[in-house]
Amino acid sequence: MRLRTVLIAATATVALASLAPAARAQDPGLAYPATSEMSDTKLGSVLFFNLYSSGIDPSVDETHFAITNGDGTNAQRVRIFLVDGATGSALSTPLCLGPNQTFGLNASQVDPGVRGWIIAVAVDVNGCPLGTEANVLSGLAHVKLAEGFRGTLPAVAVSSLFSGTLPGCDANSTTAALSFNGVSFNRLPRLASVDNFPSRADGTRQLLVVNRIAGNLGTTTSSIGKIVGNLWDDAESRHGYVMLAPASQLVAELMNGTPVTAPPMETVVSAGRTGWTRIRIFGGDIAHLGAVLFTPPNGAMNLPTSTLSAASSLTMPVSAPGC
């Protein structure tokens, strides 16, 4: 566990101290089913922020991220893990949100000089993952990168599918398994796509972000290894490729050589043309999440899902959030 934990914990305590009287108004309409697959347009008990970055100069490389408790009645305890995309090690901190409360902060305040991804998990008083009653969290990240990209990435929300506390987790537990298997939590993507991108020859650039969601948040998360994909031009010709990705996060600008295609990418997607690509992690049934940033115009989006995996699991340390 990295050392900067204390700082963000102190920040979170400030938010906790200002709990507000709850509004009890309910949204009109039908309840959103927890079984609907993970999405960045729903609420959940687990949030994935696909990218945070904080460079040497926060005026050009910074991320502001926010987490909102959409429940007007109940406070929520949240355990946040900031995963270093290069090493896979995670910084952990609790965050306590009153009813309807939102909390935002800059990555440079809590994890300067690091680029990676964030997972936020709703937990109970012991730090065990919570069930369907905690499917009320949402969030977003405003990302600004030294490479010249900027955009807003909504957090991908995953719903709990059980009630109460995660079965098997209690005050004596030191770890808990987050199983994204469609039984405990929603499943995660196995195959995803960048649906359309124009040619670099037309002055546009795209930055691909891929995160492997596996491993142990108390030690290190798993490395990606290899990404396999297909690139199509706008005349539906397909070109296969393999990319090496030795860390838990890949951040790579799409260009000649990244990935290596035959012919090169900028020949496949030549001036005035567009292409698209579909990716997965090589080596079996492995889940991932990802995003793509565009410029110009500036923008970002999480990758759309093509197919799902029920095999992803993350081990998280269990410790009382203290609120």
Binding site: A20, P21, A22, A23, A25, D27, P28, G29, L30, A31, Y32, T35, S36, E37, S39, D40, T41, K42, L43, A66, T68, G98, P99, N100, Q101, F103, S138, L140, H142, V143, K144, R150, T152, L153, P154, A155, V156, R187, R190, L191, S193, D195, N196, P198, D234, E236, R238, T274, R280, F294, P297, G299, M301, L303, P304, T305, S306, T307, L308, S309
Partner: protein, 326 residues
């Protein structure tokens, strides 16, 4: 009045591809999963397009659409909804297997602002089609890359999936119109749409931040015009969670405005609810039981579709049945 233009998009449907048919590894994404901008579908909602013909460098939108099927072409009926009048300009785009396409709003709808609905149809009659073959399910996806002055961002299209196989039940060669029902009913309609929405975070305007809000009313007649939005209720929530309700009425089918002290009207006003150094959030719902879609663009920081908080099964759109012109 908008002209109903056709034949603008004639892509290479005649160039039959010779593709290998590779199964996608992984578990099939369930059709019944609710509408989302991270899934593929048979109906796409692009929450915003805008363009200024005189200055597309400052205001324009690049719209994209991709057919994920590696084996089948996809015929798509496009409806550009003028956000002011609700009037509709329609068109077709025909995509070969695994084809992607893009076009600029300044080329096809210059000087208009609104939202785009794309409906997958059969290639002969033009009836809405669904999951003909399991491997071809959830075929379409799309994006809108929006530039509007100091606001710019990427808004992926919100996709709804058809819950019927083949041609929509009740639609045939004699049909003049059909009804798209976003009711979540198998063998009848499409996945449901949001009734209430959340905007996850709003930073203080006093600190130089600005948020451009887009709300779209999804009800009416795609052959005639979309209905005005009508009443919207919601709340602005300060960083402590304190709630400040508001109501407003929209006589257009799209609300497009910055969040400020004058909109939405709250007591106290916006910059008091979210003062310098703090953040808040907001939620919105149509006062009628009809779908509401929306997005937000952040000054200098991108954009997002608004998050669905609850759903409605009452969404309907009257749909003109016309043979694809490609």
């Amino acid at each position: 009045m908008l002209k109903r233009a056709r034949l603008l998009f004639l892509l290479a449907i005649v160039a039959a591809p010779k593709l290998s048919v590779a199964a996608e590894p992984g578990l099939v994404y369930p059709l019944a999963s609710e509408a989302s901008d991270q899934r593929r579908g048979n109906v796409l909602f692009y929450n915003l397009f805008t363009s200024k013909a005189a200055n597309p460098a400052a205001e324009d939108t690049r719209l994209t659409i991709t057919n994920h099927s590696e084996t089948s072409a996809n015929f798509v009926h496009l409806f550009f909804v003028d956000g002011t009048s609700g009037l509709v300009a329609s068109n077709f785009i025909c995509l070969t297997a695994a084809q992607t396409a893009s076009f600029r709003a300044s080329d096809v709808m210059p000087d208009f602002r609104g939202y785009l609905i794309a409906v997958s149809v059969d290639g002969v009659v033009g009836c809405p089609i669904g999951d003909t073959f399991q491997t071809n399910s959830n075929r379409l996806s799309g994006q809108a890359h929006v530039k509007s002055g100091k606001f710019q961002g990427t808004l992926p299209a919100v996709a709804a999936a058809a819950l019927f196989n083949g041609v929509q039940p009740g639609c045939d060669a004699n049909s003049v119109t059909s009804t798209l029902r976003f009711n979540g009913v198998n063998n009848d309609g499409y996945t449901r749409l949001p009734r209430s929405l959340g905007l996850d975070e709003i930073r203080s305007r006093t600190d130089g931040h600005a948020v451009l809000l887009v709300l779209n009313h999804i009800a009416g007649d795609l052959s005639g015009g979309l209905n005005p939005m009508g009443g919207v209720s919601g709340a602005l929530l300060g960083f402590t969670g304190a709630t400040f309700p508001f109501n407003f009425n929209v006589v257009k089918s799209q609300k497009f405005t910055q969040i400020s002290n004058s909109f939405p009207v709250t007591t106290p006003s916006f910059t008091t609810v979210i003062p310098s150094g703090t953040t808040g959030w907001a939620r919105f719902a149509n006062t009628s039981d009809v779908p509401l879609l929306g997005a937000a663009l952040f000054k200098g920081a991108g954009g997002v579709n608004l998050r669905s908080r609850t759903l409605t099964s009452n969404g309907t759109l009257v749909f003109p049945v016309e043979s694809p012109s490609c």
